[in-house]
């Protein structure tokens, strides 16, 4: 429409046309507008999916972890009994009530087998626990065992020399007869019934129905069937009876053993192994990564940089399972060759940690190089102008100026090391072990999750819920590391 010049009155025809046109336009405009809004909403949804992911992670990990602490580990009921016909040995000296060492002299192989640490020994009416064994092949006169006195409600007493001591063995309590869904009596061997108490809950075989004991007799138990969610079922004879052991917060944070089959859930050994392998990895990766970054940023010519950076990128792109293979096939034999196969076990934390360090070098070097590169030329030139050498400029001017980026790289490296799974799953061993020796096997948090979820995992088992609490611990650790890293970048960034 002609807006310029003198305003001419519109003819009725023109007015009508104009209205029609603007109506058409506004409908078109509206359609376009609605279309735009729909597209905008779809795109917003795509953005919000990532928030759902985080919420999902938090809810899943949190909910199952709460279930973990409410749950019970069902352990087989065991009875200690003297090994009949087993190997016995006589005390070679008088044992007062305070003594914690028994002199054994030279140990024959069969006796040694029964005197293993963590097994029990019965001396007269007292039961003692063997803590450790002292053995010196050259001088057998001082050989012996360290013991803990008065175990399992027995009383410490004096024992004359030449008293025979009997090794004891744990025996699982099994049902004698089969049970149908109607039966309320569990038949046991003579005497086993007295191990139980009225109102205790038991399970015949793990993950089967829960029963409550109503009456205890010498060789049988009266029970109320199907107390929990699982219905009554038939049970064959010779099944082991299980009792519940609740999982506690206190034990989780303070316990030093993670052994689900014994109902022991202390996170310490897993966290310890994770931190140890991460520490070893960072001892390798940080100096090498930072050194490589300094060389690439401050020393290397453009040509050399263009050749070397892709090589580092290849190193970063190798899948972690391949690094795991590398650790077990190359690094472990190398360590065993250098330090002796007696010192270094086949599965060990050091080998996994070193290879993990090699894996992290590219992460650290590329992040640090970006930070070093961002330091303006003028700072370097000012430093050279004052007569500094290139090394002094690098160490006293460039690195401090890029410190926030370098620290962020360090933390991202730690976070990757903590979350790394395959290398430790392959090379660091499959046994939770609270140790500070890097040359023995110790399972990390990630390694443990990978191992137990690799088998057939029953959704009702405590193993299943335990991977969520370990996962939550891992998530919290890495989240804190990531937040600290972005905080450092914001807080300490030198803007030029």
């Amino acid at each position: 429409m002609n807006e310029s010049g003198a305003v001419q009155p519109l003819t009725p025809l023109e007015r009508g046309l104009g209205q029609a046109r603007s109506k058409e336009n506004s409908a078109l405009y509206k359609r376009a507008r609605v279309g735009e809004e729909i597209i905008r909403a779809i795109l917003l949804f795509c953005g919000v999916v990532s928030i759902f992911t985080t919420i999902g992670i938090v809810i899943v990990l949190g909910r199952e972890s709460l279930l973990f602490f409410g749950s019970e580990a069902w352990l087989p009921v065991k009875q200690l009994s003297v090994v009949e016909g087993g190997v016995t040995f006589d005390l070679s000296a008088f044992l007062s009530t305070d003594d914690t060492f028994i002199l054994t002299g030279k140990l024959e192989n069969d006796v040694r087998a029964t005197l293993a640490p963590n097994s029990y020994l019965k001396i007269n009416d007292e039961i003692v626990l063997i803590v450790s064994r002292v053995e010196n092949p050259e001088d057998p006169t001082n050989n012996g065992i360290n013991i803990q006195r008065a175990q399992l409600d027995t009383v410490a007493a004096e024992h004359p020399a030449a008293t025979t001591s009997h090794p004891m063995r744990e025996r699982q309590i099994k049902t004698v007869a089969a049970m149908t869904t109607e039966d309320t009596t569990i038949t046991l061997e003579e005497g086993d019934g007295l191990l139980f108490e009225v109102d205790e809950r038991i399970q015949i075989a793990p993950s089967s129905e829960v029963m409550r004991i109503t009456r205890v007799a010498d060789n049988s138990l009266e029970v109320e069937r199907a107390v929990g969610d699982i219905g009554a079922a038939n049970h064959p004879a010779d099944e082991t009876i299980h009792y519940p052991k609740p999982v506690s917060w206190v034990e989780f944070f303070t316990g030093r053993q993670w052994q689900p089959q014994l109902g022991l859930f202390g996170i310490a050994p897993l966290v310890n192994a994770t931190l140890m392998s991460s520490l070893i990895a960072m001892l390798v990766a940080f100096p090498l990564g930072l050194g490589a970054a300094i060389y690439l940023s401050e020393y290397a010519s453009a040509n050399l940089r263009n050749t070397l950076k892709p090589i580092l990128e290849i190193l970063a792109g190798v899948p972690t399972v391949v690094y795991g293979y590398f650790a077990i096939q190359f690094m472990t034999p190398l360590l065993r060759g250098l330090l002796g196969s007696n010192t270094v076990e086949i599965y060990n934390v050091a080998s996994a940690g070193i290879v993990m360090g090699i894996m992290i070098i590219p992460t650290i070097s590329s992040m640090s190089e970006d930070a070093l590169h961002a330091v303006p030329r003028s700072l370097r030139e000012a430093s050279y102008g004052l007569g500094s050498t290139r090394l002094e400029t690098t160490i006293r001017v460039v690195v401090p100026a890029a410190l926030s980026g370098v620290l962020a790289a360090l933390i991202v490296g730690v976070s990757r090391a903590v979350g790394e799974t395959m290398i430790v799953a392959i090379a660091a061993g499959a046994r939770p072990n609270f140790t500070f020796n890097p040359f023995v096997g110790a399972e990390t948090m990630t390694g443990h999750i990978a191992r137990i979820s690799g088998g057939d995992l029953s959704y009702n088992s405590i193993d299943y819920t335990s991977i969520f609490i370990i996962g939550l611990t891992l998530f919290v650790i890495t989240l804190i590391l990531n937040l600290v890293s972005s905080w450092i970048v914001r807080r300490f960034r030198e803007a030029y």
Binding site: G47, L288, A450, G471, F475
Partner: protein, 460 residues
């Protein structure tokens, strides 16, 4: 200043010399860190190649040369191979039919009629599949049934395991084979007088074509390779639209408000979450909570064969999609940001709407960047092992996956399984699988680099 002036010239020179020496020393130190990285890469490659090639001591129960008058087995067609099977192991033919073709429980195999007992098979002429059971057939008909429904490679594998009876007695890595050949030969002659020594690459045509097998000699990667491709398909279809959509939203639409900042921070944090956590998420949500969908039972009305549980390609692919989503978003954002403002303004100036501008100007210009980032993210997903272990990869999988509701295994999972076995043969097999994986990744990365170089100039 006074202290500076008090230094004699000799002292000054000494100090300068010390400083410069230190500088040179540190240069070597910095350079050596790069050398360590490069050497590690070389040693890594050599370790794998060392395990992939080497001598094997092989023993045959029957020498293949006596079966064919000296012709190699590989050159025979499948009918000839069938005859060898019939002559030398007549009783095994029926067992092979049962093990490879039967669709039902072994106990019902002989009592059901042929079309029920066997799955989708081609019946040779002269068999009435609805009336006859397997016991009614003559030996020749059973053999024809087997030959008709097997590929030549499968027939060759049957002959090798049933007749020739290949047994690998001992294996050697490459360096040992090359340096101690004489000693190895002497040892073999003494310990296994009937065995022969072969030099082999564990990565070979058979390894790529065969599926899983209990026999080390016949083991292959096909099932895992197909599984990897299927999972990548699911991952790409899920992650690419979501990731690019989110990147467009964050770059083109999002204003600087609390919600958008939250999304932005959240994506950065998700990129740092350990991959095994995504496995746990996948196990809990896709495998368990959405079992109805991921096992395929929701689609059974459409004739989909549902899996017994949610541990399927669909669950695994979606878990990996969540894992690489942040990477795709961050790369996509950078690619979109790199498109100059002028292009957008020119488009608006011509009267285009926002979406028209994005879909016809911004996205086409950003596609190379987005693709490069996506390919790099996918090469990460292909190498991931931990989340798939948790989601529940099958360790033993005899059939190839044929839809998204099939149980799965992938190459990295197989590498992990084989590496964890104590027998030395499996270490060689793992090395061969690693080469397959690395070649796959290298191809993808080369593609990404070509894309980047080809399209990087045309904007400015």
């Amino acid at each position: 200043m006074t202290s500076l002036l008090n230094i004699t010239q000799d002292q000054y020179k000494q100090k300068l010399y010390a400083r410069q020496t230190q500088g040179v020393l540190y240069t070597y130190l910095y350079r050596s860190s790069l050398v360590v990285a490069v050497v590690s890469l070389i040693v890594l490659a050599m370790t794998i190649l060392n395990q992939n090639f080497g001598l094997v001591v092989v023993q045959y129960e029957i020498d293949p040369a006596t079966l064919t008058d000296g012709e190699p087995l590989e050159s025979l067609d499948k009918n000839q191979l069938g005859e060898i099977l019939q002559q030398n192991a007549p009783r095994r033919v029926l067992v092979l039919v049962r093990d490879t073709l039967s669709a039902v429980d072994p106990s019902q195999f002989t009592s059901l009629s042929l079309d029920q007992a066997l799955g989708n098979v081609v019946f040779p002429d002269g068999i009435d599949a609805t009336e006859q059971t397997i016991s009614d057939l003559s030996d020749d008909q059973v053999l024809a049934l087997l030959v008709e429904n097997s590929t030549p490679d499968e027939m060759l594998a049957f002959v090798n395991t049933e007749v020739v009876g290949v047994e690998i007695l001992k294996t050697y890595a490459f360096y040992e084979s090359a340096l101690n050949r004489a000693a190895i030969e002497a040892e073999t002659a003494e310990k296994f007088p009937e065995a022969t020594i072969q030099f082999r690459s564990w990565l070979n045509g058979r390894f790529l074509q065969n599926g899983q097998s209990a026999n080390v000699n016949d083991i292959g990667i096909r099932t895992a390779l197909i599984g990897t491709l299927w999972i990548m398909l699911v991952t790409i279809l899920t992650a690419l639209p979501l990731g690019v959509g989110a990147a467009i939203y964050l770059e083109e639409y999002a204003t600087d408000n609390a919600v958008n900042r939250l999304i932005e921070t959240n994506i950065r944090n998700l990129a740092g979450v350990p991959s095994i956590i995504y496995g746990i998420l996948g196990l809990s949500i896709f495998v368990r909570a959405l079992v109805f969908i991921t096992s395929g039972s929701a689609f059974s009305v459409l004739g989909v064969e549902a899996n017994a549980n949610g541990r399927t390609i669909l669950s695994a692919g979606m878990a990996l999609a969540l894992l690489i989503l942040p990477v795709i978003i961050i790369n996509g954002q950078e690619a979109i940001r790199a498109v100059p403002r002028t292009i957008r303004e020119a488009s608006y100036g011509l009267g285009a709407t926002k979406w028209q501008t994005i879909s016809r100007q911004v996205l086409p210009a950003a596609v190379p960047g987005i693709l490069t980032g996506t390919i790099l993210a996918f090469s990460r997903a292909i190498g991931e092992t931990a989340p798939l272990i948790v989601v529940g990869a099958s360790t033993v999988l005899t059939t190839d996956p044929n839809n998204v509701f099939s149980p799965f295994t992938v190459i990295p999972i197989q590498i992990y399984n084989w590496t964890s076995r104590p027998q030395p043969e499996y270490q060689h097999i793992a090395a061969a699988a690693i080469i397959v994986l690395l070649v796959l990744l290298l191809t993808l990365n080369t593609l990404a680099i070509i894309l980047r170089n080809r399209y990087s100039k045309n904007l400015s």
